[in-house]
Structure formats: C-alpha cells, structure tokens
C-alpha cells in the first residue's frame, strides 16, 4: 500500500507545531499501524531527519501507553482496540491519514505525538485506593462478594488509563476515567468506609487539573478501547451526590 501521512510535528512543549506531509510506500496490509510508523522512522533516520516521536510500549493493547488521534478518532477507525492493535488492512491504498496527539489542556504536549498524562496519576493519588497497608488483612475468602458485583467491578477496573475518553470529549472531560475507578470500589465491600471521601477527593482533583465537565455525548464510551460503559458515570454521580447530601466533610 502507498499512503500519505499528515503528522503533527512539534519539537518540544514550548515550540510551535505544525502538520507535516510524508509519503510511505510498499506497506503490507498485515503490518500494524506502529510498524508502518516504524518504517517511516527508519526512512527518516536514513535521511538524517528527526524521526516522529510517539508513545507505545506493550504493543498488545493493555499498557495504555499509546495514544494517537487518527483521522479524527482516538485509536483510529476500528473500535474496541488501542492504536497498537490497529492493522493497516483497515486502510486503502492511496489513503491520506492524519495523525495527531491527544488534544486536551490537561494533557500538554511533550514532543510530536507524545503528551503528558500525569494528571491521571494525580487523580488516583487523590483517592483511587483502599487505605490499607501491606499485611494484617483478613483471609481472602472472609468476604463473600456476589458474582454480579465482582463482574461489574471487573468491567470498570479494566480501564487502561490511555486517555482516549478525554481526547474524544469536546469538553476534555475525564469523567469516564474517574468514574471507572470510583465505580470499581462502589461495587465492592472493600474500602466502603472511605467511599464518600474517595469520590469527593478524586472529583475535586479532576476539576483542579483542568479537565472539563460531562455533557452526556457518550463519545467516551464509543471510543474507549476497553468499551467501559457510561453507566459508571451515573454510578459515580450517585456516589458523589450521596456524599454531598450526607454532608460528610472530608476530614483527613
């Protein structure tokens, strides 16, 4: 396949970026999207030019490192997968493909297609855990959990923290990401005692970091590579309201 690529190039956080055109030829439809970019970079290196920087690591759809906005969609035209699982057979010979980084105020660009998603870590640090130490915990089978609840918690917990939900949202909202973690714990008995503080702290941190609000377009669910349901957002909103209605202050 021969393709035209329009790629966002930006030397560093301060530099001004622009879209640059590249041609790639002789691409196998069986190669992955990143293998296609590897070949482009190999050519650029041979010409002595700066290769395109993009984030990637496991290349099997689970680490959440990769993050490309391809033809206007996070992780490209296929659904239920990450960019590293996208294969070139999803494109046609002669296609022009635009490749941009995640666009959100809370995800500043580091270089080219790489952004800083440290805000997600800060949200988890605000309360995405059960406050226990290593050791001194009850036997694993001391708490029975209904299979349904465990399965729902697992659905929510499968979030890979890639940020596609933020990238696709017109408000750059992180609601689906935060809700996935809040809902995981809301379905489980572990950590119930701190549920009210958890949701308030995580939501407050999300707001402080400059993520936008939710206006219910459901684009996040559509583009989530793990197909995490927006019903988790409803679950989080109930948790949040109930924390507020109880008038529970965050005392810690």
């Amino acid at each position: 396949m021969d393709l035209t690529l329009k790629i966002w190039r930006q030397a560093n956080a301060q530099a001004k970026g622009k879209m640059v055109d590249y041609k790639v030829t002789n691409i196998s439809p069986d190669s992955s999207f990143f293998e296609m970019l590897d070949m482009l970079n190999q050519e650029l290196i041979e010409k002595g030019e700066d290769p395109v920087a993009f984030d990637h690591d496991c290349r099997e759809g689970i680490c959440g490192t990769c993050s490309l906005y391809i033809n206007g969609r996070p992780h490209g035209p296929d659904s239920g997968i990450t960019t590293c699982q996208l294969h070139m057979r999803k494109f046609k010979n002669g296609d022009t493909i635009s490749i941009e980084p995640w666009r959100a105020k809370a995800f500043p660009i580091i270089k080219d297609l790489i952004v800083n998603r440290g805000g997600f870590d800060e949200i988890i640090q605000a309360g995405g855990y059960v406050s226990i130490k290593t050791g001194g915990v009850p036997d694993a089978n001391a708490i029975a959990i209904p299979k349904y609840d465990a399965d729902m918690a697992m659905d929510a917990a499968s979030c890979i923290g890639c940020g596609a939900c933020v990238a696709t949202c017109k408000n750059a909202s992180a609601m689906l990401f935060v809700a996935a973690k809040v809902a995981q714990f809301a379905y489980l008995p572990q950590g119930k005692v701190e549920a009210k503080q958890r949701v308030q702290r995580m939501v407050a941190t999300m707001d402080e970091l400059g993520f936008g609000n939710c206006s219910n377009t459901y684009a996040c669910e559509q583009e989530c590579p793990k197909e995490i349901s927006v019903s988790n957002i409803a679950k989080m909103n109930r948790e949040f309201l109930s924390a507020k209605l109880c008038g529970q202050k965050d005392e810690a």
């Binding site: 190999q42 855990y129 917990a157």
Partner: protein
C-alpha cells in the same frame, strides 16, 4: 573476587523463614525516617516494594521509564497467580506448590527461596483481595480457581484474562497512596544508566530524564532493582518494546554476579512472525492447549503447497495430518510443558513440515473441540482469544486452524541474589524477573506474578532491614560526593561517544541482527558450533555498532533513538554472556536444550552430577573473559528425578 554465600537460614525447610523473621534485625520507626531507599521499576515487584517500605516509614524514591507506574510490563500477564490456599479442597499445600515449582524448574532453583515463595503465596491473595482487586468469583461469592500447566491441582487465581493488569493496578494504587503522603517520591520517564558505589556499597543511581535529556544523580542507603527481564535481547519477544536489561547489566559491570543468563523461556503459543517489519510478538494464552490439537502435514509436499498458498489446511485429510505431540507424548499429549511443546514445534518446522508462508508455524486446531463441545462452549472458553487472533491475523479460527509458533517470553536468569535478595554488591538488591532465584531453568505458568508480589510485599520489607539496621548512623548522601561525580562523568562520556559515531545504520537494524544471531544460535536448540558462532558474531556486530550506528537528534532533548542505542549497546554484551553460559552448561535442563545432551528419543537429558549448580558470572573488564562461580544446589527436601511426559 566474588564469594557466593546464599545465607540460607538454618533449620528444617518449613521453619527457615519463620526462624529468619524471629531473629532478623529491625530498624525502629524513628530511624526508618532517616533512611533513603531507591527502587528502580514500578512493576509488581517494584511498586509492591515501594508501597510497603514507604508504609513502614522508609523514605522511598521510585523510578520508571514509562510515563506512569501503571504501565510496567507486569500489566500484560494474562493467565493468573498461583497460591497454596487449597480453597478447592483438592489436596494442595505449601509443600506441593514448592515441589511443583522446583520440579517445573527442572531442579535448578534454590530450595529455600522457593519454599519461602510458596509460604507467602497465600498472604498475597489476602492482600490483593483487601485492595479491591476484582478476582473471578463463584456464585456463592467466594474466589474461583483454575488449573494451569505443570500442576495437578487448581491453585490459580485470576481476573478474567487480565490478572497481571489487575494485580499491577492494585500495587499501583498502594504506591499512589504513598506518593500522596509524600513518603514515595516518584520519578517517571527516567532511564537508569548506572549504579554508584561508595566504599563498595550501592549508594545511588544515575538516571536520564527522558523528557529533557538531563542526567540526574540520586542517592540512597540502599538500591533495589526491580527492572524485569532481558528477553528483548532477541529483538522479537512478547516483552514490551521498552523492556530492557540495562539496569541489571550495569549492576553486573559494577560487581553484581549474573546468574544463569542462558535460562530463557520460550512460549509455545504465540502468533507467528509475518514479515521483516515485525516489531513484536503476541502471546496467546496457554489455556488454548486444553482443547486445541496441534498438528502439521504428514507429507512434506503438502507443507510446501501450503507454504506457497496452493493448498489449505482443510484440504488435508485426517490420515495425512501429524499430531506430533500426541504421537511423541501419548501421556500428556498437547499438554506437555512449555519447553517441550516449543522444541517439538521447532523440530517439525526445521524438518520442513511447517506451515504458513514462512514455513515457521504449526496448526492449533479446534475443529475436534467444536465437534465435541459445540461452538458456543468453545466460544465461552476462548472467545476473547479467538477475537484477538482474528484482529491480528485476519483469519477466523472457528473455521480454519490457528497458526502458532514459539516466541521468547521470560528470562529465568538474572542477577544472582542470596536469601535476602541481595546481590553480590552490598546494599544492592534484585527482585522479580530481574533476579534468578525461584524458577530454575523453567518457570511454570502463573508463577511470575506470584514471585513479583512475594518479593515486593513480603520478602524485601523484612530482609532489607537486616542490612539497613547497620546503616542508621550513616548520614544522608547528597549525590555530590566524588563517586557520584565520577560515575556521572562516565555516563555522559558514553552518551557523547554514542552520539559522535554518526554512522550510517539505525539502532533497530543492529538490534534485529543481534536478535537473529541469538534466535538462531542461543534459541530453542543449542549446540557447541552454534554457540561458538554466536561468540564470534556478537563481538563483531558490537564492534560494527560502535563504529557505524546512526543516532539522530541530540542528548538534551526527548530522544527515543538515544534511549534505544544505550539499551542495544548493553544487549550486545549481555547476548555474548548468554552464549558463554549456554556453552558452559553442557546439559539439557528446562528451557535450555543442548543438542549434545539428549536421549535416543530426542528428549532433554539433565546431568545432575556435573551441573546441579547456579552459574554466577563475574565481570572482569570489557575485553576480559568473565569468571564463573558456582553455587552448588543442595536438595534436602526434594529428590531429583528426570522429568518424563511420555
């Protein structure tokens, strides 16, 4: 000159760890605040260790090359985690888990370490459940277990096909809590480039900030490496693209012995290589072998036609198929251990019977299972894997057999550690896949997660106190001591040297060539000639690399080519040590198959008389042969027998 002392506690096997804890030295809480611990890596072992030690009161600095600790490659583990809970009431026990692990490792692991691993396995499950990890449950609300290769009991806990992800996110959440309290200082997007020793003890590390390119010095009273394995020396593997052996390799060059580097696990069920541009291999869960039947054509002419695309697998009649595992191993059939299944596939393909356009693939066929169980049952069991296969290969496995081929998956070898998990450098520790201690010559499924978390949550927090209790009077280091300045200079010199080569070939092209040498000569089947070839070819390639590599960009900026160059430079040395170790070990054991050491039927032949030892290599200088030290393995609790799967 290194002296190996495993420091195994006295007493009966079952009492050693308890005795150790009873008599270990402690550090009181007010002194813990005065002690800095550096932990490199945020996978299961690193994150668990960082969280646990911060909770205890130490000041922790935690480093990773990824943009977030949550992305460490532990996240990709699919199957599950073993523990001796015996919840299914099927006769499991700590001893049995210990026994299976030592036997599965083909009797090349240290008994005392493995026993401790089995002993703490149950606490891991308790800890993970308390963290809110959504393990699979039965309708009664209690935890579900499944069976896994190499065991006759069901002792594997799992969270769908994403157990590694869930366990890592649990450790990450505990770590995040400590980051919030300020007890852990987190440094992401940092590559560890060297170790700093003061008066012979590990006191810090030199890292490169991957975003700015700045070289940073970080100091501590002890340094813990939880940096994973070195499977990427083969270029193509199931490891993440960034997984590398550099921290362990730098430790080796600073005096830490490297143990059993040739012990590599090759996983039989991976998606085959499809072209020269391939960057990575994808693992398909081993559970597929429970119902899939593995075969190649019986006649070479059929294989050739299939390779040319003139024939399809369904065109080959039952009589003309060779179910070679069932033929060779009637007792275990398609369920032989990973190493045996991998070698058998290679044997058929080397003999010209392979399929796919490269001839380097075998069929994994579900038609019999679909006939016996119905499509819906097969779909319920393996639906997600079939879907993953179809996304990558664009073939429907319900209709046409899957194609699989073995791939590099895990490295059992690593830094030599004693019972305390300390390397031969005082104050330098190695955890998880980065050390060598628990899996011998072959790792069983669902045991990597167990070891990572055991080391991080329940071993190092105890054993490091034994060392740090002596260090409470040592004042904090500043990172400006002359030793730090000296190593920083060496790191910068090396980097400048790399940048100034300005050659003509890319880093990746060298990495691919190294991978090819390793796969051909230090891969599934090894012999004297091949290993000697590797020992000639690798130094030549290394010389060419240092003469002709081209690295674009600059040092003081985000520069992935420079990152890769440093890692590949280290792989070009590590690969040679692997070949040397494989040549020295003239026996077949676990994942290491020496063609000279096999039975008449072509099965692996272990040699306990001459090789029941850990080969620990000591660095002696760049152009000097490393020195071999032997830690003899004494088996007190288990009797050595030859594995037999016929």
């Amino acid at each position: 000159m290194i002296k190996l002392d495993a420091k195994i506690p006295e007493g009966q096997m079952a009492d050693k760890w308890t005795n150790y804890i009873d008599h270990a030295k402690l550090v009181n809480p007010s002194n813990k605040r005065k002690l800095d611990v550096i932990i490199v890596g945020t996978g299961l072992a690193g994150a668990a260790a960082a969280a646990s030690m911060a909770e205890m009161g130490y000041e922790v600095k935690n480093f990773c090359y990824q943009d977030s600790p949550r992305r460490a490659h532990s996240i990709a583990a699919q199957g599950g985690i073993n523990a001796a809970k015996n919840y299914p009431n099927d006769g499991d026990s700590v001893y049995r888990l210990f026994y299976d692990t030592v036997k599965g490792g083909d009797y090349r692991a240290r008994e005392a370490n493995v026993y401790r691993l089995a002993e703490v396995s149950n606490s891991i499950i308790d800890q993970c459940v308390a963290q809110g990890i959504p393990f699979a449950r039965e309708y009664g609300g209690l935890l579900d277990n499944r069976s896994f290769g190499g065991a006759q009991v069901s002792r594997t806990f799992y969270a769908r096909g994403q157990t590694g992800q869930q366990l890592l996110l649990g450790a990450y959440s505990a770590l995040s809590r400590q980051v919030k309290t300020g007890k852990v200082k987190l440094y992401t997007r940092r590559d560890m480039l060297d170790i700093v020793k003061i008066d012979g003890r590990a006191r810090g590390i030199i890292v490169r900030n991957l975003v700015t390119g700045e070289i940073e010095k970080h100091s501590g009273h002890a340094v813990v490496l939880a940096t994973g394995g070195y499977g990427n020396v083969f270029y193509l593997s199931t490891n993440a693209m960034g997984s590398n052996g550099s921290p362990a390799w730098q430790a080796y060059k600073r005096g830490a012995a490297f143990a059993n580097p040739c012990f590599v696990q090759i996983h039989p069920t991976c998606i085959p290589v499809h072209g020269d541009f391939q960057s990575k291999l994808t693992l398909m869960s081993e559970s597929l072998r429970n119902d899939g039947r593995i075969w190649v054509p019986k006649n070479k002419e059929d294989s050739i036609k299939i390779q040319k695309g003139e024939m399809k697998p369904i065109d080959i009649s039952e009589d003309n198929r060779d179910y070679y595992l069932e033929r060779r191993y009637p007792a275990f059939g398609n369920l032989v251990p990973r190493d045996v299944a991998s070698r058998a596939a290679k044997e058929r393909c080397d003999a010209g019977f392979g399929v796919g356009n490269t001839g380097l693939a075998v069929y994994l066929d579900f038609s019999e299972a679909i006939g016996r169980l119905g499509k819906s049952v097969v779909e319920a069991r393996y639906g997600n894997l079939f879907q993953m296969y179809e996304k990558i290969v664009d073939d429907n496995p319900y209709e046409t057999p899957m194609m699989i081929y073995p791939a590099i998956h895990y490295t059992m070898g690593g830094l030599w550690v004693d019972y305390n998990l300390m390397t031969t450098v005082p104050g330098l520790y190695a955890l998880g896949e980065a050390n060598f201690s628990d899996h011998g010559a072959n790792r069983l499924g669902a045991s990597a997660l167990m070891q990572g978390l055991a080391d991080g949550y329940f071993v190092i927090p105890y054993t490091i106190a034994d060392y740090l209790s002596d260090q409470i009077h040592v004042p904090r280091f500043t990172g400006d001591e002359p030793e730090f300045v000296q190593v920083e200079k060496e790191v910068k010199d090396r980097m400048n040297k790399l940048m100034n080569i300005k050659g003509s070939q890319s880093v990746d092209s060298f990495h691919k060539r190294l991978g090819h040498i390793m796969w051909e000569n230090v891969g599934m089947g090894r012999n004297t000639d091949g290993l000697n070839t590797a020992l000639t070819e690798i130094p030549k390639l290394r010389e060419e690399f240092w003469r002709d590599v081209r690295i674009t960009g600059n040092i003081e900026e985000y520069n992935p080519e420079l990152e890769k160059a440093g890692r590949v430079a280290d792989f070009l040395e590590l690969g040679e040590l692997m070949a040397r170790d494989a040549l020295n070990r003239n026996e077949s054991c676990g994942g290491h198959f020496r063609e000279e050491s096999q039975t008449e039927e072509g099965e692996a032949k272990r040699n306990d008389e001459d090789f029941a030892y850990v080969a620990a290599w000591e660095y002696k200088g760049d152009d000097v042969e490393p020195e071999l030290h032997k830690e003899h393995l004494n088996f007190e609790a288990i009797e050595l027998v030859q594995r037999n799967y016929k």
